[in-house]
Amino acid sequence: MSSSPAEKSELLQGTLDMLILKALQREPMHGFGLSARLRTMSLGVFQVEMGSIYPALCRLEARGWVKADWKTSENNRRARFHALTPAGRKQLIEEKSRWDVLSGTINLMLDHPA
């Protein structure tokens, strides 16, 4: 289904929201910046589809974790900047700790001597 290059990888399902929250943790960002940042954060491994980012942003906005405002971008474009809300920060912490437990456990199991 995917024709993306071999070195790129699909995101694990269900992690995009968490990663977006993480990407927005430092500063508010517009969609374009967000997609670039997600790419750099993953050192170019994860290819994030635009078709996923925007619905995800909407989802986060609808849940009150992210809110968006029209501002002027660094190169004088009108852009919609998405920022974490306090609830969003809390959510990030929660998801992070849940992920830590999950990934730690999975790693543990995978590293378990056969």
């Binding site: 517009h30 374009f32 078709g51 909407c58 919609r80």
Partner: protein, 882 residues
């Protein structure tokens, strides 16, 4: 709604955001050295499908229910369009039921909540009523005198009070004089009601004083203006002649305003202070506390409750009863408008309630019918449902689809029903007696009516959709697909449809039998002995005040007209009186004392009476029990005489003989010279009440009514023409108001029963027809389902008559059970109604039998069509169809 707006706003924002994003990508690509076109192409490729993003976005944002519902409605519309026969039939049936209900609801709502269209803040309007205080219990309600009104108006702190009287006067210019119902109203009337003039003005402060006969001004109705003047401006310059007195037209009432006695539509409003002038009675009537001619309407002042106002009025009434001799034994109270004895509800509330109940039954039948149609349709769709389930549709979604379809149908039916109601709202006019001018034309699409229509639609949709929806969820995937959806019709669904048909049949019988009960009570009321013989009598009503007659002129006119009429061939006898029994009017009474009879404290001695001319009893055929008739010698100069009824004798003169005893009234003593049989005064259903007669020549006032009774063998129209001709020959200024046969007149007094009977008859008929349609649809479906079986039977040698019987037996069993159940309910209902009305008897078995027979015949006809189809099934075709 907000949700939808929100959606489009959000979508616009998203579109812009995506555009900006694309712009940034293009810029970046250009910076990397691509040409503008390549930069664009790359950006779009990388970005992916914009529409998909929007779609996904929509799923995130929109309240899922709305979106789903919209889709469901679209789907319902599509699938209904595919099945036009079913859709049209269902919508028509629904619109019939809902339309009837909306119509009656509109009337009912107006009666209860908006009885005076055009008035503002109706919730604060109440009525002040006097009543004959019979000591422990409140007696019949009474109207009020002008002086009493002034006292209430000036002394009640909780209420603003207005007074109204009414009369049919000769109104017009020189030529087009006609009989017009006028309402005489106290100066504060329009202000109190909060009515605003459509043109001109209402009474000025100067015109609102109690000064009598000082302000000859008139307000006319929009309707009168339209029919008598080219435009409002010319009406406002015109002079209106009322009973030969000139009045300036100062204003035109708004079109919806008809005065305070719906369904009567008044055409002209005059200051009540002009009463004497317009009736040619001088000024005494408004200065006489005994002249109780007026109704009182009031508005609660800010902060006052009806209970407070009632206790204040009660206290003032008690004070007045102690202070004024004329008010002795008279109480006062405050009632809401719908309980007002002299208001609109009095006339119509009861027949309307009965109608509302009838409409409810009709709606039930309609509902059952729609359930049936939907069940049949659901059966035809079993395969479709099966496939949907197989493709992963949830059962809940299927049920929802059916419900939404049901709602779509009901809403469409409701919309059409509103149209029907729009046409029907004036229908009450056909049912009201000619005496009243129908004004019951409720506002067609008031918020309440619209709300009711939607509510009905939703209730019907849910009630009628629930069963089919439930059946849809129970579609058995395996079975329907295996059977190819052909021989569907699970036992449960079949049973449900049978129950629906039986219920419809039963309800139709109940509705028809109900109509029968009211028709019967109407007939019985008409057939009740009245104590006189209305047949062969023609009534011609005059009001001599319209010609500004004095008493001697009035007397001369009556005598001359009577003599002239008696000379006409075919006329057997002629007489005249001031009061008609069994009409709309309250009747006239006089407070009397009886020699040798000690009235109990608080006993109501206001006894109804009639002023009659010579030959009255012979013309009316009221039998004499004792004594003599009045004759021409009993006039103003001779001794005052009186004839009393048998009930009068029984109540007051049981000791000794009645003849020769004396009765005091009108400030003098009358001697009883005769005793006559009892007659019905107010209603044919009443028990005998004491009544007395005195010679019209001894106590007549021209402002009283005057009715000529002409007993003749000629056709009614000829007699009326004769009376009109003879009256005009004596004095062309005399206006003859109503003229009709007395039988017709009495029928008018029963119009409550008549409305109920007529309308219920119509509703019952429609209900029965719908039940037959339901039966037909079930039988037609059943025959279609059994085509193969029937074909097989006929291939194996069954004769057509066997097949006919097969189908008939099935259908008639359903109809029969429904008929029997309906008849049983009807009998129970009849008992209930018998307790409520005066004339209804428990159900007449013959009427019930006739109803059941009619229903059975219609059922038979509904079954015969499919049965006929069954026997014509060719075995080859039938077997191949499987």
């Amino acid at each position: 709604m907000r949700c939808l707006f929100g959606r489009s706003r959000r979508e616009a924002a998203l579109r812009e955001e995506i555009d900006q994003h694309l712009g940034m990508m293009i810029e970046e690509n250009e910076a990397a050295g691509l040409s503008r076109d390549d930069a664009r192409g790359a950006a779009f490729r990388e970005f992916g499908g914009v529409e998909q993003i929007k779609e996904a976005h929509r799923d995130e944002w929109t309240f899922a229910g709305w979106e789903q519902l919209r889709k469901d409605f679209q789907f319902a519309l599509r699938s209904l369009r595919k099945n036009p026969g079913f859709t049209v039939a269902t919508v028509l049936i629904l619109s019939l039921g809902i339309g009837a209900n909306i119509t009656v609801f509109g009337w009912m709502r107006q009666l209860l909540f908006d009885p005076i269209p055009g008035a503002s803040d109706v919730a604060d309007l109440v009525a002040v009523e006097n009543f004959a205080d019979a000591g422990d219990a409140a007696g019949p309600p009474l109207t009020t005198s002008y002086l009493d009104f002034a006292d209430y108006r000036d002394h009640l702190r909780m209420l603003d009070v207005a007074a109204m009287g009414q009369g049919a006067f000769a109104v017009g210019g020189a030529k087009d004089t006609g009989r017009v119902w006028c309402e005489l109203v106290s100066g504060n009337f329009f202000t109190l009601l909060g009515v605003r003039p459509a043109a001109g003005r209402f009474f000025s402060p100067a015109e609102q004083t109690d000064a009598q006969n000082a302000h000859p001004v008139a307000v006319i109705s929009q309707d009168y203006c339209r029919t008598h003047f080219p435009n409002a401006a010319s009406a406002l310059e015109a002079t209106l002649w009322i009973n030969h007195e000139p009045f300036s037209i100062i204003g035109i009432a708004p079109p919806e305003f008809n005065g305070t006695q719906t369904p009567m539509a008044f055409q002209v409003w005059l200051p009540l202070s002009m009463y004497g002038q317009v009736t040619h009675t001088g000024t005494w009537m408004l200065r006489d506390r005994g002249t109780r001619n007026f109704r009182l309407l009031a508005r609660l002042k800010a902060g006052a409750t009806i209970a407070q106002a009632r206790s204040e009025t009660l206290a003032l009434g008690q004070f007045m009863a102690r202070r004024n001799g004329e008010d002795r034994g008279v109480g006062a109270t405050v009632v809401p408008l719908w309980q007002w004895a002299f208001g609109p509800s009095e006339l119509l509330l009861k027949p309307m309630s009965i109608l509302m109940a009838g409409c409810g039954v009709l709606l039930l039948i309609v509902g059952a019918n729609v359930v049936n149609l939907q069940l049949v349709r659901a059966l035809g769709r079993q395969r479709e449902f099966g496939v949907r389930l197989a493709l992963g549709s949830s059962r809940w979604r299927l049920a929802r689809l059916v419900l939404v379809e049901s709602l779509t149908l009901a809403l469409t039916g409701s919309a059409l029903g509103l149209l029907i109601a729009f046409w029907l709202r004036g229908a009450l006019a056909w049912l009201l007696p000619a005496v009243a001018m129908p004004a019951m034309v409720p506002a067609p699409f008031s918020p309440a009516v619209l709300g009711f229509a939607v509510l009905l639609a939703v209730v019907v949709a849910i009630a009628a959709g629930l069963t089919p929806a439930w059946h849809a969820t129970r579609s058995n995937l395996n079975r329907t697909l295996k059977h190819g959806g052909r021989s569907g019709g699970s036992g449960a669904s079949q049973g449900m449809r049978s129950v629906m048909v039986m219920a419809e049949m039963a309800l139709a019988v109940v509705a028809l039998a109900g109509a029968g009960i009211f028709l019967e009570s109407f007939r019985a009321a008409r057939a009740m002995p009245t104590g006189f013989s209305p047949e062969g009598q023609v009534l011609a009503e005059f009001n001599l005040a319209t010609a500004a007659y004095n008493r001697e002129q009035a007397e001369a006119f009556c005598q001359r007209l009577a003599e002239a009429l008696e000379k006409n061939p075919g006329v057997t006898s002629v007489s005249y009186a001031d009061t008609l029994p069994l009409g709309f009017r309250n009747g006239n009474w006089e407070e009397i004392q009886i020699e040798g009879y000690q009235a109990r404290p608080g006993e109501n001695m206001k006894i109804f009476r009639n002023l009659v001319g010579p030959g009255y009893f012979a013309t009316m055929r009221i039998p004499f029990v004792d004594g003599r008739d009045f004759d021409l010698k009993d006039d103003a100069r001779s001794g005052a005489v009186m004839i009393v009824s048998q009930e009068f004798v029984r109540r007051f003169l049981s000791q000794g003989i009645a003849l020769g005893r004396r009765v005091h009234g009108w400030g003098r003593w009358f001697t009883i010279v005769g005793v006559v049989g009892d007659i019905k005064i107010h209603r044919v259903t009443e028990n005998p009440i004491p009544f007395f007669y005195i010679p019209i020549r001894q106590e007549y006032r021209p402002e009283y009514g005057l009715t000529f009774h002409v007993r003749a063998e000629a056709p009614v129209d000829n007699v009326i023409a004769t009376v009109r001709r003879e009256a005009a020959a004596i004095d062309p200024a005399i206006v003859m108001f109503d003229a009709q046969s007395m039988s017709e007149y009495i029928a008018g007094s029963l119009y409550g029963e008549r409305i109920a009977a007529t309308m219920l008859g119509v509703l019952g008929g429609v209900g029965l027809l719908l039940a037959a349609v339901g039966l037909y649809s079930v039988m037609a479906y059943s025959v279609a389902q059994r085509t193969a079986e029937i074909g097989l039977r006929s291939a194996l040698g069954a004769r057509p008559v066997d097949l006919l019987l097969l189908v008939l037996r099935q259908g008639m069993r359903l109809a029969g059970i429904g008929l029997i159940a309906g008849s049983l309910i009807a009998v129970g209902l009849a008992r209930l109604i018998a307790g409520m009305t005066e004339t209804a008897h428990p159900l007449d078995p013959i009427a019930l039998l006739a109803t059941a027979l009619l229903a059975a015949l219609l059922a038979l006809a509904a079954i015969l069509v499919p049965a006929w189809r069954a026997i014509r099934v060719s075995p080859i075709v039938a077997l191949r169809s499987e």
